[in-house]
């Protein structure tokens, strides 16, 4: 792909604005709260888009469009079954406790509700996880820019890290949130024309469906599966994902997505920055609306790419591997489509959107890391009881250290690819049991600190054991092979079911055997001991519950329409 001067100009203007926003916000920062939690002052439309956008990293953009070409509209299950119900749930049922507890972070909530050791376990796991995630994000960016533009890995990584560092260092969480919103608009405006043009070229949705149903997929299945999300979900051999309905609904729809959206501080932090309790509740709910529409600009172009490759237009799916053993390189589907549909100018917008999403993925991790480190590790264990000024300095230094560690991780990822695969897998197990802990913590007053700690630990360990005892696509089975899954996706779904169940059972058993927290200490932390404000007399679209019902109904409709 060759960029013209105008494309570089657009990229430069974007970077200028990103840094400018950070610069303008610099003067608003005087306490550690301003820097790390935005002083709980951000309007709800901004927190909602940031809530969505912090999760919309470029791995998702690139990966989901690739999965569109590989698995078809079933990929939308990650949105319509996974994310949307979980986002509505966290908004309606969990944000009230996060907000009422006045906790500044998810680990801090765990400390207030349970005890110090549960917090330490979660804070450490989370800190390590964010650094690696942002490193992996950086690595992916370096790889992509190297591949499509020929930029060197080191230049890409260092430049993007420098920009992220500059704006998070200057404006803290507010700056990261503002830039996430800008990035969201850029992605929507940069990629929806691509989706529209690719689908139109492929004959519209019905034309695509007709064309795909005449083809045979690489796995030997009929292409009709690409345009139906529920029709082929009865058995694992019917669909290219290798999943069936229970694993999908329980594993992805319940444990994995609820685990991610309800307990991952990276996204919760955005909702906590909202300017009122009602705004904090509405943040994830409102974010669910654009979230459920994203498949149309991310996944559908991937499906269109597969249809286009059948049309003798000169478009072929990108391939990788050595001659004779070539496989489709799904990660390049999005960029090859851009090259075919965008002229110089619009190409710059698309590329800027892609880079913006990489950087906001990084920034999200860095801002979550510095908050958890400053409040839950440094202030809790290293130097408690200092003046706020001191913690602001620590937060700033932590931001620099976080970025430096991420760069180091990017290079580790470059050198030891399989190690990164493993780490990513491990992180996907951190959130699954955590959801069990939160569910019990918020809704069962009897659950105790010892219960939570041992439940969390045994949930994570059992996830590891489940991975060690099952095989899928050559992965796992490092202890023995008791069961073989048709795909790693099915394996992940089932491992998270195991982890969640183990955590919940152990937490319940240990809790029943240990002394409960006195009820007076549960105010604002547990259901039944927290005053839930009902905002009567406010327009329906400003109240969380009616909003949630409307958005939930739309998600249900999409599931039926594309079934």
């Amino acid at each position: 792909m060759k960029l013209a001067v105008v494309d570089y100009l657009i990229l430069a203007i974007y970077f200028g604005f990103v840094l400018g926003i950070g610069w303008r916000l610099k003067s608003k920062i005087s306490t550690s709260g301003d820097f790390l939690t935005s002083g709980r002052s951000v309007p709800v439309w901004i927190t909602s888009l940031a809530f969505l956008s912090a999760n919309l990293g470029a791995q998702e953009l690139v990966g989901m469009s690739g999965q569109g070409a590989k698995y078809g509209i079933m990929t939308a299950h990650f949105y319509w079954v996974g994310a949307v119900p979980a986002m509505i749930f966290v908004g309606l049922f969990m944000m009230p406790f996060y907000w009422a507890s006045r906790a500044r972070s998810v680990p801090e909530y765990l400390k207030l509700r349970f005890d110090e050791k549960t917090r330490a376990l979660n804070a450490l796991a989370f800190a390590v996880m964010t650094v690696f995630s942002s490193g992996i994000s950086m690595y992916a960016l370096g790889l992509l820019l190297n591949l499509i533009l020929g930029w060197s890995f080191t230049t890409s990584v260092l430049c993007s890290a420098a920009i992220v560092l500059a704006y998070t260092f200057l404006g803290g969480l507010t700056s990261a949130i503002y830039n996430e919103v800008l990035q969201f608009f850029l992605i929507v405006m940069g990629f929806s024309p691509l989706a529209i043009m690719a689908v139109m070229k492929a004959g519209g949705w019905s034309g695509m469906a007709a064309r795909l149903s005449k083809m045979t997929l690489p796995g030997g299945l009929n292409g009709d599966v690409m345009t139906h999300s529920w029709k082929y979900i009865g058995h694992t051999y019917q669909n290219p994902m290798g999943i069936e309905i229970f694993g999908l609904v329980a594993g992805l729809g319940f444990v994995m997505s609820f685990g991610y959206w309800c307990t991952n501080f990276l996204v919760i932090q955005r909702a906590m920055a909202a300017n009122s309790a009602s705004a904090a509740r509405r943040t994830p709910v409102i974010a669910a609306l654009p979230k459920m529409l994203l498949p149309f600009i991310i996944i559908v172009p991937g499906i269109a790419a597969l249809a286009l490759s059948q049309m003798a237009l000169g478009y072929v799916l990108p391939m990788k591997g050595v001659a004779g053993a070539m496989t489709p390189d799904y990660d390049q589907v999005l960029t090859t489509l851009m090259a075919k549909f965008y002229p110089a100018g619009m190409l710059g917008i698309g590329l800027t959107g892609l880079m913006a999403s990489f950087m906001s993925g990084m920034a999200g991790n860095v801002t979550a890391f510095n908050t958890v480190f400053t409040y839950d590790i440094y202030q809790a264990y290293i130097r408690p009881g200092k003046a706020d000024r001191h913690y602001l300095t620590v937060a700033r230094v932590t931001t620099v250290v976080g970025v430096a560690l991420s760069i180091a991780c990017a290079y580790v990822a470059q050198g030891y690819n399989s190690l990164m695969d493993l780490l990513q897998l491990v992180f996907s197990f951190v959130n699954a049991p955590l959801f069990g802990t939160f569910l019990l913590g918020m809704f069962w007053k009897r659950s105790t600190g010892h219960g939570a700690f041992w439940g969390l630990l045994s949930g994570t360990v059992s996830a590891g054991l489940a991975h060690g005892c099952t095989m899928a696509e050559g992965k796992g089975g490092w202890i023995m092979t008791l069961h073989t899954f048709p795909s790693t996706m099915a394996q992940n779904f089932w491992i998270s079911i195991v982890a969640f169940t183990a955590c919940t059972l152990v937490t319940i058993l240990v809790s029943l055997a240990t002394k409960p927290k006195p009820e007076a200490e549960l105010t604002g932390l547990v259901y039944g001991f927290t005053e839930l404000k009902h905002d009567e007399g406010v327009a329906w679209y400003k109240r969380p519950v009616p909003l949630a019902i409307a958005i939930g109904a739309l998600a249900l409709f999409l599931n039926f329409w594309f079934a």
Binding site: V42, F185, M189, K201
Partner: protein, 65 residues
């Protein structure tokens, strides 16, 4: 607090103008698989979006004062 609609509005107005100019002065810039003047239409849309953002921010400023 900085009103985010202002930088967002300016960014998309500027970028929209650039694309619009490309669409008008270099209409022959076409990608392989499409005949439409992508820059022109996208530029117009972004310019409009940017101006709406700026307009909204001015409107709310009037209401506050």
């Amino acid at each position: 607090m900085l009103d985010l609609r202002v930088p967002t509005g300016f960014f998309f107005a500027i970028v929209g103008l650039i694309l619009l100019a490309m669409g008008v002065f270099a209409p022959s810039e076409r990608a392989a698989l499409t005949d439409s003047n992508v820059n022109l239409y996208c530029g117009l849309f972004m310019l409009a979006f940017g101006l709406i953002m700026l307009g909204l921010s001015r409107l709310s400023k009037h209401e506050d004062s």
